[in-house]
Structure formats: C-alpha cells, structure tokens
C-alpha cells in the first residue's frame, strides 16, 4: 500500500486516487476464512471417520489375532468362545453383490444404450427424469418390497431348484436382497453410463454411420468402447453402493453368518452385522463393540478403494473429450 501505487496523472479536476481499496477490508477477509472453514469441515469429517475407526480397531486386534480375523471363515461373536473370522461376513457381502450385479449390469447398460442411441429425444426426456426420481426411493422401501413381493411372488415360483437347493418356505435369502439391490442400482448405472456415452464426440458416431455401419455396430463397437472408462466407473460405483447397502440386506437376506455363494441361502453381510450389533444398548469397550469398528474399517477400506478407482476413471474420460 505504498504511495507508488497512486495514479500519476490526475483525473479531470479530482485529487490523485489510489488503486487500492481504502480500507483493509477485514470483513472480506473474515468471510473468506469462514468459507474456507466450511470447506475444511469435510476434511475434518474424513479425519473423524478414520480416527473413530482406528481406535477401537486397534483395541480389537489386541484381543483377536489378525490371522484369525483375516483368514478364517467362522464369524460367531456370540458363541463361547467367540470366533472372529471376518471372511464369514465378507463372503455374505460377495454373495449378495455378485448376484445383484449379474442382474443390474446388463439391465443398466442396456437401458443406457437405449437412452443414448435408440430413444427419440422425447422418450429420453421422459424416461431419464423418471429414473432419476426413482433413485430417491428409500432403501427401506426397497427392502420391504424385496422380502414381501420379490421373494414370495417372483423367486419362489420361478426358482428351478436343482443342486443349489429349493426356494420354498424360506423367509429370507441372499437372492431376494440381490434383486432388491439390483433394483436400487440399475438407475444409477443407466444414468451415469448414459452420460458417458453421450459425452462421446458426435463425429465418431456420424463417421461410423457414414461408413455404412449399422445401428448395432455403432452402439456396440464405436460408442460403447469409446465410453468404456465412464461405463466402468458407473459399474464400480454401483458395486460400492451394493457393498455398503444395509437396509435391503437387513430385511431380505436374513442375518445368519454363512460363508456361501449360494443365492438361496440366508446370509449375514458386513453392514447387517454392524447394524444389528451396534444398537443403543451395546457396552462401550466390550469386544462386540470393538468388532463393529473392525468390520466397519474393512468395509470403509473396500469401498474407499472402489470409489478412488471410479473417480479416477471418470476423470480420465473427462480429460479425453
């Protein structure tokens, strides 16, 4: 704020004027710092999540050896003596997620291809908002639908039985939760993949048609590969959502730790263990309390890896076009 910043030539009739503001504008600076603090709160949230997971998890591993936790399949915390093989509940999660993705990925991608390549603008303008609105259906509603409609009305009559066993008379099963989760993530895959395919430059599309390619070939050999990183990102995000989903699994998959990939068995997954164990009356410091955090840490790391992969992939396709 030195005198050298004054304008040398006087404006018509007036005294020389400085280019700098007349005050130091403490208010402006204060506002900037307040806003920066708001942004910083998100970093503090992450730090708090990590800190709250680490403390009890470390305590947990002082009691339970890491080899038992990471490499055995027996998840029986309520037995005496208890056994904490996290693979028992991880297997439940894998079971539910695999079957849900087998349904959701084809449905979601087909919907996306239809929306971006086949639908007329008018149809697209109707279907896409409907899908987006339906993304907001609470998962507790989907869970209720899975256990009271999908299971008795769709799975039981249609299930062929065979070597996996029959579906009759089972009140819960992994497959019901899988189909519920599929219902939840199809709009996510469809909407994000549609965005990715529409971000492919028009020229690629027109060029393929000009060379005589048919619609199927344009969709499957030109647009789909060009949008692949965005499509994979949407699928990875859907898997991460499925892994972290709680209510659908809690209502439809039963709650028995059961390391199997058989879709008609009842299973317990990581999230449902946390939700049923960490209710209000759990004693702080007990081994059960600590085990919740250990399972939570595994869940957090798994979803974090998938989210980072997904974010990277989206960045990449944004940079290319």
């Amino acid at each position: 704020m030195g005198p050298e910043t004054t304008i040398a030539t006087e404006p018509a009739g007036g005294p020389p004027r400085r280019l700098q503001a007349q005050s130091k504008r403490y208010g402006e600076r204060l506002i900037k710092w307040l806003l920066a603090f708001c942004a910083l709160l998100s970093v503090l949230t992450t730090t708090a999540i990590i800190l709250s997971l680490i403390g009890p998890t470390v305590g947990f591993f002082e009691i339970v050896p890491g080899t038992e936790f990471f490499f055995t399949f027996d998840w029986t915390p309520q037995f005496e003596p208890p056994s904490f093989g996290v693979l028992g509940v991880v297997a439940g999660t894998v079971n539910v997620v695999i079957w849900s993705m087998l349904v959701a990925i084809p449905l979601g991608l087909a919907t996306a291809v239809y929306l971006s390549e086949y639908a007329s603008p008018r149809v697209r303008k109707t279907i896409k908002p409907i899908l987006e609105v339906l993304t907001g259906i609470p998962t507790v509603a989907i869970g209720f639908f899975a256990v009271s409609f999908i299971l008795p009305e769709i799975i039981v009559p249609l299930w062929p039985g065979g070597f996996l066993g029959g579906a009759d008379g089972k009140p819960f099963m992994a497959l019901a939760a899988s189909l519920g989760i599929a219902l939840m993530v199809v709009p996510i895959i469809a909407s994000l993949s549609d965005d990715a395919m529409r971000a492919v430059p028009r020229g690629l599309h027109d060029g393929a048609y000009a060379l005589g390619a048919t619609r199927v070939k344009v969709a499957t050999r030109v647009i789909f590969p060009a949008a692949l990183s965005g499509i994979v990102a949407s699928v990875v995000l859907a898997i991460s959502r499925a892994v972290g989903e709680t209510m659908i699994v809690l209502l439809a998959a039963g709650n028995t730790p059961n390391p199997t990939l058989n879709p008609v068995e009842s299973v317990q997954v990581m999230t449902s263990y946390i939700a049923t164990t960490a209710t209000g009356d759990i004693a702080t410091g007990s081994i059960d309390y600590k085990s919740v955090f250990a399972v939570g840490a595994v869940l957090f790391v798994m979803t974090l890896i998938m989210n980072v992969v997904s974010i990277r992939l989206v960045r990449r396709y944004r940079e290319v076009y």
Binding site: E28, K32, L34, L35, A36, C38, A39, L40, L41, S42, V43, T45, T46, A48, I49, S52, G55, P56, L107, A110, T111, Y114, L115, Y118, P129, L131, V133, L134, G136, I137, P138, T139, V140, A141, F144, F145, S148, F149, L183, T214, R215, V216, L237, R241, G244, E245, T246, M247, L250, L251, T271, I274, A278, T279, G280, F293, G296, L299, L304, N307
Partner: protein, 313 residues
Amino acid sequence: MEAGSPSSPRNRLAVAGARATTQAKLRDQPRGDVVRNAVFAGLLLLAVTIALAGLLALIFQALAKGSSAFGPDLVNNPPSTAFPDKAGYRPAIIGSLQLIAGVLLFILPVGVGAALYLEEYADKSRWWNTVIEVNIQNLAAVPSIIYGILGLAFIVRGPLDLGFILVAGSLTLALLVLPMVIIASREALRAVPDSIRQGSLALGATQWQTIRRQVLPAAIPGIATGVILAVSRAVGETAPLLLVGATVFVTFDPTPFGTDGYSAMPVQIFNYALRPQEEFQALAAAGIILMLVVLLAMNSFAIWLRNRYEQRW
C-alpha cells in the same frame, strides 16, 4: 435457367439419381443385419421395461398392501404392539420433521459456504485445495452405515458426547448428505458465466458483494435442487439412525434434546416391516406410501427445477 444453378433440371435429375442409388444401397442391407438390429433393439426395450416395471411394481405393491391401514390413525397415533389396528406414525413423523430441520440448519450455511470457497476463492493449483476436492468426492460415496459408526463414536460418545438425542441423529444425517450439497452447489456456481463476475468487479464491487448480489442469486435454482435432493436422501436414510439411537417404540412426541429417545419415519417402517403379523405389514406398506409421496414429490420438483433453469445463459 443456367445449367450450373442448383435447381436446373440437370442438377435435379442428378440429385434424384444419387438419392435413389443411396436408398437402394441402404435397402439392400444383408438380411442378417436387419434381424440383428431388430433383436438388439428388442432386447434393449425389454431391459428398459423390466427396470421401470420393477420400480413401478414397488409402488403398486405398497399401495395394495397398505390400503387397509390408511386413515387418520396412521398419522395421529403412536405405535402400539397391543393394538396394531390403531397404531400409527405420529412420533416418527414429528421426529423426522425435527431431524430434517436440523439437517437444513447445518447443510445450508456449511454446504453453500464450502462450495463458495472452492469455486470462488480457492486457488486450484494449491495442493490443499485439491485434497479438499478429492476428499469431498470420496465422502459422497462412503456407505451410510459408516456415518452411523462416526455418529456413534464421535457425536453420541467420544469428543462431542451428546448422548442418544435427536440432535445427534440430525448431525449424523447432515454430515452424510453434506457432500451432495457441496457438489451440487459447486456445479451451480460454475454455471454462472465469468462475465457476470467481471462486470460486477469492474463496477467497483468487492468480491463478497459480487458473490452475494450477483453470483449467488444466479446460482440459487441449482443450489436449491442440490439441497432438496440431499434432504430427500436424509429423510429416507435408516441405517445410520439405527446406530445413533433412533429407537422404535417411542410413544410420545420426541423433542430435540430429550434423553428419552426419538424415532424417525424410516426406522419405524423398518420395525413394522420386521413383524410378521398382517396388520404390521400393512402399517409398514402404508408408511412407505406416505414417505414415497413426500420424497417423490420433492425429487420431481428438484429435477424439474434443474431442467427448467438448466440453460439460462
């Protein structure tokens, strides 16, 4: 008429000839391609139908199942195990309203403030601003039950030590949806053209005056969309509330700081849904309809708002 002009008879003839040749060529597609095209299009349409039908079936099933439980009792009465035909959602509805009021109080200033900092002030070449940005994207995809753990270990117990009160639940939900608000608000701010900012600054307004009087008003539809979508997510979120003390048999009207417990719509629905008796199943379905009506109305309004104001510049 000159021979070279576009509408000369010779040119018209040539154009017609070329068009006929092209059409003949195109019509001459191999049969296999025609069939393949039709089959592929059919499969796509089938997938779209299944996806939409599944979601519509959800709504109709809840309507069919819950119709018997509709009535004034549904919103006026507290839950009851002894008289399932008289039970309702009163404490849950009041609890949800209070939870949402708390969420709004938190996410409006903090979410918009963070977005303003990142879009209007932050120097993107600084590493700490990149860290904040990546961190927010990650937070948006952290499973909701992890926020429940955070609420239990950090807000209910631990450093904040609020106990199992409604405000703790509200704060947990607010942290859960905060990234959504920040991301949506940033997009809304980014859509405001720079010429507006430069014009305002050139006229002598300070940065904050520019933001408050020009940028923020122009971004309000986008911010509102983000906030509505975030609130609707918070209304339907169940899992974290199970961990931070939303109990299911609250028969009185909950208060923000009351230590006797509180309830929320989705938690109450979850509890009814777990009971096998027909009456409770109907109550769960009716509660789902009640919540869906509110949420779908909110989401439709938000998406309409976004599409309406999408291309204003």
